[in-house]
């Protein structure tokens, strides 16, 4: 058959430039996330509400100093976990279930490009969260200390650690199981990860174990820097790095696309 080369559908295949594909994918993922009410509840409403509520009402004894100085770093850690872990796990789990990952896998966008776009989308969301929570914290009288570079490094490593765990869950469990488990983990880590309840409220044996959780390392590290003006919190960074490497490696190995 000879094609005339003038029809509407006459083949003219080709992949778009890689940066354009990744940018388009990241934009779409971010839009999907911001449009989803349940996700917003998790990533915006709950952290903001906790910050305001626990700063203004004396519910938990947070030790010496302003309550908001203790809470703001914990809530920032919670924000990272809500987006990189809970939100990403649930969204990716359902994308897998509904064949979105499968369909995109046969598009010109390479799989690593899709994962890069997901990471960009998580980072964009986190920037929006950090801006919002910082504004609220300042309004509540927050006076942060410390080195911004240390804070940035903690946030990035925390994001990597939670992304690995979230994708591991999304890529191996059923979508409904991921939904349930991701929410449960969110709740448990919110309570037991030094976010709003200081770890020293727990028995000393439990403290040692809880201190190794990624959420505890992130909230403790951020608190060291922002509340106490510490330099590089190497111990916490180390814990996050181990979680990040282990989580991402396991996700890379066990992730199923359909």
């Amino acid at each position: 058959m000879t094609a005339t080369g003038t029809g509407t559908y006459t083949p003219k295949p080709g992949a778009a430039p890689l940066p354009r594909m990744i940018a388009a994918q990241a934009l779409l993922e971010t839009k999907m996330l911001l449009r989803n009410g349940e996700q917003l509840l998790l990533t915006v409403v709950i952290p903001a509400l906790l910050l305001v509520l626990f700063s203004t009402v004396d519910i938990v004894d947070t030790g010496a100093g302003e309550t908001v100085d203790f809470l703001a770093p914990g809530v920032l850690a919670l924000a990272v976990m809500s987006t990189a872990f809970t939100g990403q796990a649930i969204a990716t789990g359902f994308e897998r279930r509904y064949g979105v990952l499968k369909r995109l896998a046969s598009s010109p966008l390479p799989r690593w490009g899709l994962m890069t776009a997901k990471t960009l989308s998580v980072l964009v969301t986190e920037v929006l969260q950090v801006i919002l929570l910082t504004v609220i914290a300042f309004a509540l009288g927050w006076s942060p200390q410390g080195n911004p570079a240390a804070m940035l490094l903690l946030l990035v490593l925390g994001t990597a650690a939670f992304s690995g765990l979230g994708l591991l869950m999304a890529g191996t469990l059923k979508a409904e199981a991921t939904l349930a488990a991701a929410n449960l983990v969110f709740l448990l880590l919110l309570v037991g990860g030094g976010v709003i309840v200081p770890l020293d409220k727990f028995p000393s044996g439990a403290q040692d174990v809880l201190g190794l959780l990624p959420i505890s390392a992130l909230s403790d590290g951020l608190r060291d820097v922002l509340q106490h003006g510490a330099g590089m919190p190497w111990g916490d960074l180390g814990i996050l790095a181990v979680w990040a490497v282990a989580g991402l490696a396991a996700a890379g190995k066990f992730f199923r696309w359909e």
């Binding site: 029809g7 295949p13 979105v100």
Partner: protein, 307 residues
């Protein structure tokens, strides 16, 4: 003659655990429209998904546009369009948003507005995917498969569950794709769909191709046609047989209902009607049945229902 093969499958074997889904399948599809026909569980989707690069063959070779779909996936993906049997769209995305997104992933996409208009999706641009009707979801998936101006399109049961209008719209698009030089591989349960659209039909059963050819070739395979008519019960079939060519058979199936099987041509029809005239019989409900693809399909794959 239609030219170079777009898909070449040789001795493909694919197992899921202990179940062999595809069992030494050979298939060559050339430019144009190829329909892959078969009962449920015959291995249609597995074969197509292996061509799309989703599954790695357990053994055998698969070449699509001359490329290995797994190892040369990056080169192949921009050149093919894929419509999955279901899903493939973010449940919260709007119809036109997802289509525009897929268009963005290609270098020279079709005009999205014209395509949505063409497929009757113009009115549901702002509707989220999960609120679209089943037919609209199917047409959106079809649009996503063609928007990148591919050379080859895979459609997995593109009209399953569609209403007649939507089915026509899909058929018309497939015809236009073919006319513009796009090759199409489609799986279907519908014989009429294969008969209407396909240059070539491959019938798959139990993981193998059991027949392949143009719809005409496949139908000619059974050269016998059937002529039926009704009349008075108890006519002398013996004298009818004497009037007919030697290789024909005639019988009264139920009282007053007659059947002639053989090479039914105008001459035979004239013979039968003049015999009726001689016997003072008015043949009613006279009909000539051509062998359809459905007959061929049922003959080859068996008439019994399977689980």
């Amino acid at each position: 003659m239609r030219s170079e093969p777009v898909v070449q499958v040789q001795a493909l074997v694919k197992r899921y655990g202990t179940k062999t889904a595809v069992d030494g399948l050979d298939l060559v599809a050339r430019t144009g429209v190829t329909a892959v026909l078969g009962p449920n569980g015959a291995g249609k989707t597995t074969t197509v998904e292996t061509c799309e690069g989703y599954r790695k063959p357990d053994s055998g070779t698969v070449r699509v546009l001359g490329l290995d779909p797994v190892r040369q996936s990056a080169d192949l993906r921009p050149r093919i369009g894929v419509m999955l049997q279901s899903g493939g769209v973010y449940s919260g995305s709007r119809a036109d948003e997802m289509l525009r997104h897929v268009a963005m992933l290609h270098a020279h996409p079709l005009d999205v507005d014209a395509l949505t208009e063409r497929l009757g999706l113009g009115s549901c641009g702002r509707t989220t995917y999960r609120r679209l009707s089943g037919g609209q979801q199917q047409r959106l998936a079809l649009a996503m498969a063609v928007v990148g101006r591919p050379e080859l399109v895979f459609l997995d049961e593109p009209t399953a569950g569609l209403d007649p209008q939507a089915r026509r719209a899909t058929w018309d698009l497939v015809r236009d794709l073919r006319a513009d030089g796009v090759s199409v591989i489609l799986t279907t349960h519908y014989m009429d769909e294969a008969e209407q659209l396909a240059d070539d039909v491959a019938i798959i059963d139990a993981g193998r191709v059991i027949a392949q050819g143009s719809p005409e070739e496949l139908c000619r395979g059974g050269a016998e046609n059937t002529l039926r008519f009704s009349g008075r019960p108890g006519l002398d079939v013996g004298s009818l047989l004497k009037a007919l060519p030697a290789d024909c058979s005639a019988a009264e199936l139920t009282p007053g209902s007659y059947r002639v099987v053989g090479k039914v041509d105008p001459q035979l029809l004239a013979t039968v009607t003049s015999w009726c005239a001689q016997h003072g019989v008015m043949p009613e409900k006279i009909s000539v049945e051509r062998h359809t693809l459905e007959d061929v399909f049922l003959e080859l794959t068996g008439k019994e229902l399977r689980s």
